[in-house]
Amino acid sequence: MFPFGDREGQLITLEDLPLGGPQQLAYPMDPRTKTVRNGSTLNLISLIRFDPAQLTEETRELAARGVVAYSAICTHQGCPVSMWEAHAKNLFCACHATQFDPRDRARVVDGPAPRRLPMLPIKLVDGVLTVAGGFTGRVGGERPS
């Protein structure tokens, strides 16, 4: 679902995702109860649509028609990865400038984040982007001990 703005609460379709990015932030909705999981920004997800041929094989396995979904919470300090580096087509964290490659399981390309963004497997069910499994890693940033 669109998380905020004019279309807040509306379903995000394939047509809403420009090919090659940038990302569209989203909150998931429980398809049975219709509950939008927006109680915490930790639930924010980035959706990006690519030509499937541009994705690594490992990434393509968890994508749907070239659409990939990642946690939008930076693994560094928990900031929303809400920006887009248009030249390299990378996800960009506003707080400390980590860049993640969305075509390669959100590998860290640059910046201080210690690990990649967890990926959320998705599939298309009746044309709707649907969660197909759990995150591939722990969602959230590091904290000092």
């Binding site: 920004t41 900031c79 809400s82 887009w84």
Partner: protein, 573 residues
């Protein structure tokens, strides 16, 4: 003999008795009074800049140009925390307090480095901040005051580190956070808020130092009916920015505090027509009531992200044969301002460029209002190039003033420029809202330049540059300390060095390579007759981001190691 006993008794009543270095470990602690803050003892460093006036000056003179070469580490302490450490050690009669990123406070024995206690704030799981740092703590009575990242004012017991009380200042979900050290005067603890990049409306708020009850709150963007509100168009004032990133200075005689304010939100002036008071300004607030008693705006309708958050130094100087009760501010816009302070107003005296700046066509000699080159103003849908870049001639690291010399020391950055083009961004509470995404902020350097970072020394009477030390391979990101011994101490460079300069000549007399880059201001204190120089080394935040950009342009090493360490030095015997 009788006189001596009487004086000792009087000193005891006033809480002035010198405690031994292990005072806190033995259960004693010297309460911090208004009198002590107004006239701090040379042996202590009770406030982030050493005094209310913001001088960064220690009168101690044991360490001199003649013996500084023998400065050696006495002890070090790892904070166990990464990211940008921007706070100086605070020392009260042998007890040192250090605050780290993520709102942790550590108490140490200042002479031995022995660990005393640590306060760890549990930040909410969904908390995030662009700048996760802290610029310091404040002492008053038997308490330590912390402005936490998640926007609480926390009072700690100075002896134990236990929370005495805490008060919510604002809701962090909406983008508010706090990075500054509180300012305490006459029983009130004052704090200001960060968050301009998220579209907050800045303010300074005071709380009763004992009870924590709110005393007053003054917005730095005036609301309807308040003077200056008509400098905003429509509802733009509601998210107008003017964050208060740094601690104010204070003139106890006038009873006025002076605060620097951030730029406006969003960053592009054409989205909020008008001068936009009191953004990019110095404001004078009555410490007792919060009433606005004067202001000076450096840039009207600000459009370059040139915050002016560093409060002006309270300095009296000579001009045209008379003593002016003044304010001195090396501004992010690249000009060195001399202002005049009074109970009623802040007056303009002069503005002198100290780095290359190509935005101002002129500065009005009476009012200080700049006239802009139109082509240098970035707008919505219109790119403009400008110098210096958004990090300015001097960002938040503070300058220092040596009253024996009448000399100001500025950590300056030159030969860098920026370019931006604005766009209209939809406002979402707690989300980035500047009108430009960070990957689209342009940064450039003059590749033929012989230097970038500098330490500049200026004689304030006459506004003349005395010397400049230039760093060809680094920016200058360190706050400055100057001493009665005629020295200047600062770090700030990407090579991790902590340096001592001769304040008279600018010659580097001593340097020591620390664990990380230093972006915190040093402090000086003495215990049992020995003068110590102390600084926290811990690179991060903006210097780290900027270093990454420059590494792409000039090939500088990108990997400046992080992790905080408190260093304490003394002259070896």
């Amino acid at each position: 003999m009788k006189t001596t006993r009487t004086l000792l008794a009087l000193a005891a009543v006033l809480g002035l008795v010198m405690l031994p270095a292990t005072a806190l470990a033995q259960g004693g602690y010297s309460p911090v009074t208004d009198q002590r803050l107004v006239k701090p003892e040379p042996e202590n460093w009770l406030q982030i800049r050493g005094n209310y006036q913001g001088w960064g000056y220690s009168p101690l003179g044991q360490v001199t140009p003649a013996n500084v070469k023998k400065l050696t580490p006495v002890w070090a302490f790892s904070t166990g925390v990464d990211s940008g450490h921007e706070a100086p050690p605070i020392v009260n009669n042998g007890v040192m307090f250090v605050v780290t990123p993520y709102s942790q406070v550590i108490a140490l024995d200042a002479k031995s480095g022995k660990f005393l206690w640590r306060y760890k704030r549990e930040l909410p799981e969904d908390f995030k901040a662009l700048h996760n740092t802290s610029r310091g703590i404040a002492l008053y009575g038997d308490k330590v005051y912390l402005a936490s990242l998640d926007c609480f004012l926390v009072a700690l017991d100075a002896k134990t580190g236990k929370v005495a009380w805490q008060k919510k200042v604002e809701d962090y979900h909406t983008g508010y956070y706090m990075t500054l050290a509180p300012l305490v005067a006459k029983g009130k603890v004052m704090v200001g808020v960060s968050g301009g990049e998220f579209g907050v409306r800045g303010f300074v708020q005071a709380f009763d130092a004992q009870s924590g009850e709110p005393a007053w709150k003054t917005y730095t963007v005036p609301g309807p009916g308040e003077p200056g509100h008509d400098t905003w168009s429509g509802d733009t004032w509601k998210r107008g920015g003017a964050s208060v990133w740094l601690t104010g200075t204070y003139d106890p005689d006038l009873g006025l505090t002076y605060w620097g304010t951030g730029n406006a939100s969003p960053w592009f002036g054409d989205q909020r027509a008008g001068d936009n008071l009191y953004t990019a300004s110095t404001v004078a607030l009555d410490a007792a009531t919060g009433a606005l008693k004067g202001h000076f705006q450096y840039q009207w309708n600000e459009s370059w992200d040139w915050d002016e958050p560093d409060a002006p130094l309270v300095v009296d100087y000579q001009k045209d044969g008379r003593t002016i009760k003044g304010l001195v501010h090396p501004a992010r816009n690249g000009y060195l301002y001399l202002l005049e302070r009074s109970r009623e107003r802040i007056g303009f005296v002069s503005a002198t460029p100290y780095v290359k700046q190509n935005v101002f066509r002129s500065v009005d000699s009476k009012t200080g209002r700049p006239d802009y080159h139109a082509e240098r103003i970035p707008k919505t849908g219109k790119r403009a190039d400008f110098c210096p870049s958004l990090w300015g001639g001097k960002d938040w690291p503070s300058a220092a003033y040596n009253p024996k010399m009448g000399r100001l020391f500025i950590p300056a950055n030159d030969n860098h420029c920026g370019f931006m083009e604005g766009k209209v961004q939809q406002y979402v509470a707690g989300q980035w809202w500047t009108g430009v995404d960070i990957p689209d902020i342009g940064f450039a350097v003059d590749k033929s330049a012989k230097y970038f970072g500098q330490i500049q020394a200026w004689d304030i009477n006459g506004v003349k540059r005395a010397w400049s030390h230039q760093f060809p391979d680094s920016m200058s990101w360190g706050g400055v300390l100057t001493t009665g011994g005629g020295l200047v101490f600062t770090g700030g460079t990407n090579d991790r060095y902590f340096r001592a300069f001769d304040a008279s000549t600018g010659k580097v007399l001593w340097q020591f390579r620390t664990n990380s880059g230093i972006i915190a201001p040093p402090a000086s204190f003495s215990v049992d007759g020995t003068q110590y120089i102390s600084v926290v080394s811990g690179w991060g935040v903006d210097p780290a981001f900027q270093q990454g950009l420059i590494s792409n342009l000039l090939g500088w090493e990108k990997d400046v190691p992080q992790g905080g360490v408190v260093w304490v030095f003394a002259v070896s015997q």
